[in-house]
């Protein structure tokens, strides 16, 4: 639990550092702080987990694993931020602080043991994100993104809250334990409870960007500064799914006959909308936004086929997806800085001028497309296995069709980089970026070749 405390205190320290104009020390302090938090989380691994704070939270292995991956992803993203925020505004310390506040909310989301904490976690995370989406104060798109995100987010929170209220109304408690016991005692739960589940599904689907509640994603992802988009589409999405899974496997598993059909429909729609729309994008960034919707679809598999392996599947899939996305967004930032555009064409001929960058981006794209020997394949493999184990054969076949569609747009980048030519000068890849790229690419390959080292975590 010290992890949460450190991550909550760290931003305050950063704000003071900002106050005393110690901008140089911001990044090192943040990263050291996060590493300490990570270490403390890992130290609790396999300890007997009991609900703490009067049953509000539980820091079990599930929570530790997802805290770990979100913290690591945040560190990687923050390393990409060197020199990035400075260009946007003078108040750099605030941005680091807000990102960390958001991370604190995420830690709460992955370790909640009470619906109130779920709500509070989501709100801490979301409010921080509303601000982050709009940090380019004078940029029209950034403002639009922030406003849109805020309105949609507030709306979806309403659904979530309403759902939670209905559950409270039927069971008389916010505690996951009490709700689970109530469900076990009432195999045919009453309509109010069912309505509550549906509203919670709607609220959470908004947050993770699953169709048909995805309409905010492309605009927000496109308008927000690229680094913040990276944060939203990796860390935030992972946390959303962790919370989703935690709630459903803890409380609603016995009622799966009721909500699985609902989620099945959502999953199929999400897959098709995400993939088919991504096909038509000219902008790399927008393509990534839509592809993130389709990945939400694959991640939903774990919840549709809820079982003992679900946590493992989500963990591997989210890890694979996050690190690959970090490479993609990192490269996008560099290319965007050079050419001023985020279209596919701006990647033309990158393999000639920057073989290293092109190579890691290729690994990332192969991973996102789910090609074997990359982490993305392992993620898809575990998702498909889980779904087939529950006899969702048609779902898997639809997913296969979608995986084939996704090849088109992921390979567009590879084709642009390797097979199209353009006059371009060599991009300067800063050392920090190189470190992030190398780590991410190695992890991607490592999970792809030997997933066992990560598969035994949960």
């Amino acid at each position: 639990m010290n992890t949460l405390i450190i991550i909550s205190v760290l931003p305050i320290v950063l704000l003071y550092l900002g106050l005393y104009k110690a901008t140089k020390s911001l990044l090192p302090v943040t990263i050291i702080g996060l590493l300490v938090a990570l270490g403390l989380a890992i130290a609790q691994w396999n300890n007997v987990a009991l609900p703490i704070y009067h049953g509000m939270m539980m820091f079990d292995n599930f929570a530790i694993a997802f805290s770990g991956i979100t913290i690591i992803a945040t560190i990687l993203i923050l390393m990409l931020s060197k020199g990035y925020f400075d260009k946007i505004s003078k108040h750099v310390a605030e941005y680091y602080a807000i990102i960390l506040f958001s991370l604190a909310g995420i830690i709460v989301m992955v370790s909640f043991y009470n619906l109130v904490m779920l709500f509070i976690g989501i709100e801490i995370m979301s409010v921080s994100l509303y601000i982050l989406a709009g940090i380019k104060k004078s940029d029209f798109a950034s403002n639009e993104a922030a406003l849109k995100y805020f309105l949609m987010g507030a709306f979806s929170t309403g659904f979530l809250l309403f759902g939670i209220t209905l559950l409270y109304g039927t069971t008389g408690s916010f505690s996951l334990e009490v709700i689970r016991d109530w469900v076990l005692a009432h195999p045919h739960a009453d309509p109010m409870f069912y309505t509550g589940i549906v509203l919670i599904i709607v609220g959470l689907c908004f947050k993770v960007g699953a169709a048909p509640f995805h309409f905010w994603t492309p605009d927000v992802y496109e308008g927000a500064p690229t680094l913040i988009t990276a944060f939203m589409s990796t860390v935030v999405k992972t946390a959303g799914f962790a919370a989703f899974l935690r709630l459903f496997s803890a409380c609603f598993a016995p009622l799966s006959d009721f909500w699985v059909p609902v989620l099945l429909v959502i999953t199929v729609i999400t897959l098709f909308i995400g993939n088919i729309t991504a096909l038509y994008q000219q902008s790399f960034k927008r393509m990534l936004a839509f592809s993130s919707i389709s990945h939400a679809g694959y991640l939903l598999f774990a919840i549709v086929a809820l079982g003992s392996g679900s946590a493992n599947s989500v963990f591997i899939y989210a890890t694979a997806y996050s690190i690959a996305s970090i490479i993609a967004f990192g490269s996008l930032i560099l290319v965007q800085q050079q050419s001023g555009s985020d279209n596919f064409e701006s990647f033309n001929g990158l393999a000639k001028s920057n073989p290293f960058l092109a190579f890691v981006l290729t690994i990332a794209m192969l991973s996102l497309a789910g090609i074997p020997l990359t982490a993305g394949f392992m993620g898809k493999f575990f998702m498909f296995s889980g779904a087939l184990a529950k006899y969702h054969v048609w779902l898997v076949i639809i997913a296969v069709v979608n995986a084939i569609i996704s090849i088109f747009y992921y390979f567009r980048v590879i084709i642009a980089m390797y097979f199209r030519t353009a006059d371009r000068t060599e991009l300067v890849v800063p050392a920090y970026y190189k470190v992030v790229f190398i780590i991410s690419a190695l992890v991607t390959i490592l999970i792809g070749v030997y997933p066992d080292f990560i598969a035994r975590f949960i």
């Binding site: 192969l366 090609i371 074997p372 020997l373 394949f377 493999f381 575990f382 498909f384 296995s385 087939l388 184990a389 054969v393 898997v396 076949i397 296969v400 995986a403 084939i404 090849i407 088109f408 390979f411 084709i415 390797y418 097979f419 199209r420 030997y450 997933p451 066992d452 598969a455 035994r456």
Partner: protein, 490 residues
Amino acid sequence: MTVSILIFLPVVAAVIVALLKNGIAKHAALFFSVAELVIAGLFLSKFIPDATTQFAIDVPWIPKFGIYFSAGIDGISMVMVLLTTLLVPLIVLSTYQHKYNNEGAFYGLILFMQAGLLVVFTALDGFLFYVGWEAALIPIYFICALWGGENRIRITIKFFIYTFAGSLFMLVGIIYLYLQSPGKTYDIHEFYRIGLDAKHQSLVFWAFFLAFAIKMPLFPFHTWQPDTYTEAPTAGTMLLSGIMLKMGIYGVIRWLIPNAPLGFVHWQALVMILAVIGIIYASLIAFNQKDGKRLVAYSSIAHVGLIAAGIFAWTEVGVQGAMIQMLNHGINVVGMFFIWDIISRRLNTRDISQLGGIAKVAPKFSIAFLIIVLGTVGLPLTNGFVGEFLLLNGVFEYSAYHYFNIALAAVAGLTIIFGAVYMLRMYKNVMQGETNELTATFTDISGSEKLTLCIICMLIIAIGIYPHPILHISEAAVNNLIQTIKIKQY
């Protein structure tokens, strides 16, 4: 000594070669591929040609999900390993006259692909098989797309998506079998014991069949093939036609029929007919080809159709014929594409109508070309004859319905006549007749070209005269497999 040496040497070699500079990389690649061939030879010398799996390796990979790194060599795999390790050095040698930019990457990808192919041919674990299957696809995609012809972007993505689509369905099939297996493992021997009912076996059959039919390619899944063969750099075409399509045929023998025998029986007649249609269809198109490389591509579809028909007949003779014909087809087609590579490199054209009379200016070349043509059309005492004879024999023995087998064998037999017609006509138009302005500049083969063609021609004749050693390698394994997976004739 386990098969892991065979699998991991090319991986290490690929990394080393990829880091080397232009000029050294090709020699290093040749060195490593020959070393691999020597190791394969060592395996062969210690190999006991009975039905057992030898040199096996079995270590946990993802034990939680029943996935093991489990591979081994039996008679069937041995032939495939020989095919791969023999052809890769030949292919590398055949590229010696080319100047590729970024040579290290080019040869590194070839070696990496070899590792993937060897995994496919030796894997005894469904998951490992799938990973090898895709690990062979990625390098060939990049080889074709980076060093290919003008339309390469569109055509290679089509090729990639086609094959990737097929293999994803296979993945679903493999996972399905895993979930049905009593011990929850991906072990192929467990898969064989599952015993699903006919209806579910049909589903499994189609899941695997799509992947294999696209890879071979079997009519009507062949549409990616001629374009890709034409656009790919010659080394890529050789890898695709010489080795990669055998992945599909091998898959049918090892994974498709034994895993879904009842499903296979149900669809056997259909796939036999598809194979035979493919033979005729491809032969007819080959008649009208002006581009030599394209003609060879279509002739390859026809030959593969016959191999497929021989396997789908599922008789000992037919499968044995397929085994040796895979090796022969690999050698012949590599030779054939090399011939066209030499012609197009010297004369900058592959248009048959512009050529003629090369025999007069290049006698050595014309002899090599003739031997390869004869091997391809299956003249007695060349390697093609042995394979085609056994294959047709196998098709003839397949007796599902009265007279059906005779009709099939008769139609399939046309491939020999058709093949002779278009191949010999091609030879005549290219090599004989009057030497024109263009072909007068043709210089005879020398150096690495001579060496490559010499090896190929010697193999063609040697196997044609005395095929027994190769047939003997796979005989026991094939017989055993067919005895175990006895298909009831309805």
